[in-house]
């Protein structure tokens, strides 16, 4: 076990602290609400000489990710952070980072996308990047933010994986609220993340390589995409292995999904991020009232933990999926589509319904979550039929 101290701090602050402990060679970032205090605090740590990082100030997120890609191709350990419009502006580089198999670590402080303009939490930013080939981890609390950030390094840098990792934390709710966090000692983190041994690095001048080559005109583009798919599939086992090792070090459990009160549950809510806290609270209330309520929190969204979801949900009488992003024009939100698809091959059908909630930071009140459990109970009892996707609490 690592030596740990308990501090009261914010999600953003622990990202900066975890970055310092992981000692990236390069950080290139551009400030954007609600990520700003991450890069502010990290800039201060660099200015104080508490980390050896080359800190590159850039004029946009497009340039931030481009600089990260260049540095990572050169062989550096690279980290950055963004949110919302910033992530959207990185769009084309996200695919280049994963296609070039560069294990860049990025914190994304989930925030709604314009228009209308908004600075508060939802997941529409990261859901736009869900097919970009990045590993995507979600945190409920500042503690999980810290843990995910540190685990992201050995996950992304694993020689069988070599993929970028995005660690998501909910804008303002997790980024700015003061939370209780256990931080590990520097030596334990240093030993846990290890040294990065880059392969085919540009700055390995004894073994010159050229990056960014053309693979069209009948070239092997298709084969490269296949290796990318194999890598992210393989990352699942690596994430579990790293999670196990981290659990031993920290004393905190980690799974691709976290299940709560699921042993005898009949109705369950599936959720990502900070809202899991409210759902857990309401589930306990519902249990006191005789409803066998449970909760499945997805910690790793990419790769999507299909087997784990199936094993957690296959016996449910009704499942409600909460999506903090819409997939406009689709049958439901992204988490719903993935969850229901995962359950499709079961012999007996599990009813799954979808709720879009909390867009643009719209308040996720306990009574709204209660209506979801009530709906699910009615569906389970056969007194209500499956309904289509609903905007939870929208007027």
């Amino acid at each position: 076990m690592a030596e740990q101290k308990t501090v009261a701090t914010t999600g953003n602050s622990v990202v900066a602290e975890a970055f310092r402990q992981c000692a990236p060679d390069v950080v290139a970032a551009y400030p954007i609400t609600p990520q700003t205090t991450i890069v502010e605090e990290f800039a201060k740590i660099v200015a104080q000489g508490r980390v050896h990082t080359e800190y590159v100030t850039v004029e946009s997120e497009h340039s931030a990710m481009s600089a990260c890609i260049g540095a990572a191709a050169a062989g550096a350990r690279v980290m950055t952070a963004t949110a919302s419009q910033g992530l959207a502006l990185m769009w084309e580089e996200l695919y280049i980072a994963s296609g070039m198999r560069l294990p860049i670590i990025m914190a994304n402080t989930n925030r709604a996308l314009s228009a209308p303009i908004n600075i508060h939490c939802d997941h529409s930013d990261v859901m736009g990047a869900r097919d970009s080939g990045w590993i995507i981890l979600f945190a409920e609390t500042a503690q999980e933010v810290y843990d995910n950030t540190i685990m992201a390094v050995p996950i992304g840098e694993d020689p069988e994986v070599l993929l970028p990792v995005m660690t998501c934390l909910d804008g303002f709710i997790t980024t700015h609220s003061i939370d209780r966090v256990q931080l590990m000692d520097d030596d334990s983190v240093t030993a846990f993340v290890g040294d990065y041994e880059p392969q085919n690095a540009l700055l390995d001048t004894d073994n010159p390589v050229s990056h960014g080559n053309f693979a069209g005109l009948g070239g092997p583009y298709f084969e490269f995409k296949k290796t990318q798919r194999l890598a992210i599939d393989c990352s699942k086992g690596v994430i579990e292995r790293v999670g196990e090792a981290f659990s031993k070090l920290s004393g905190r459990p980690f799974g691709l999904i976290e299940t709560d009160m699921m042993d005898d549950a009949e109705v369950a809510i599936v959720v990502l991020g900070s809202t899991a806290g409210n759902v857990r609270y309401v589930a306990k209330q519902m249990r006191a009232e005789g409803v066998k309520a449970g909760l499945v929190k997805i910690r790793c969204f990419r790769p999507f933990p299909v087997e784990e979801m199936v094993s957690a949900l296959s016996d449910m009488k009704a499942v409600g999926v909460l999506d903090r992003a819409d997939s406009f024009g689709a049958e439901g939100g992204p988490v719903f589509l993935e969850t229901r698809s995962a359950l499709y091959d079961l012999e007996s059908r599990v009813p799954v319904v979808n709720y879009i909630y909390g867009l643009g930071g719209s308040d996720v009140r306990l009574d709204l979550i209660r209506t979801v459990y009530t709906d699910l109970s009615d569906i389970a009892a056969g007194s209500a039929s499956l309904h289509g996707m609903q905007y939870l609490g929208a007027r």
Partner: protein, 109 residues
């Protein structure tokens, strides 16, 4: 270092390609024959040519061959010349003509 052999690349499985899509050896661009894109080829009139080497200076594909500070007899590297015509355009004595490539083209009037 051994030269990277890509002669059987079209039969390679996905996992046989180098990580990150790199070319893991220097100097391979010579093996990548790009002359097939050409629709016109340069022809040098040896009588008119003064060996000023401006064509060698201007060629964007380093496809003009020089030996002993004079243009080589086998002047143009047609494996890499893309037929852009810069050499013919820059030649101060009009010693280079671009002629249609590949097939007998019908005369255009």
């Amino acid at each position: 270092m051994s030269k990277w052999d890509i002669s059987k690349m079209n039969a390679w499985k996905a996992e046989q390609f180098p990580l990150r899509g790199v070319i893991p050896d220097a100097g391979n661009s010579r093996d990548y024959v790009t002359g097939g894109w050409r629709s016109e080829r340069p022809v040098r009139d040896v009588e008119t040519c003064t060996d000023c080497l401006l064509c060698w200076v201007f060629c964007p594909d380093t496809a003009v061959r020089v030996e002993n500070e004079k243009l080589a007899d086998d002047t143009f590297d047609l494996d890499h010349c893309k037929g852009c015509g810069v050499c013919a355009n820059e030649c101060p004595v009009e010693a280079i003509t671009m002629v249609p490539e590949g097939c007998e083209l019908p005369e255009v009037k």
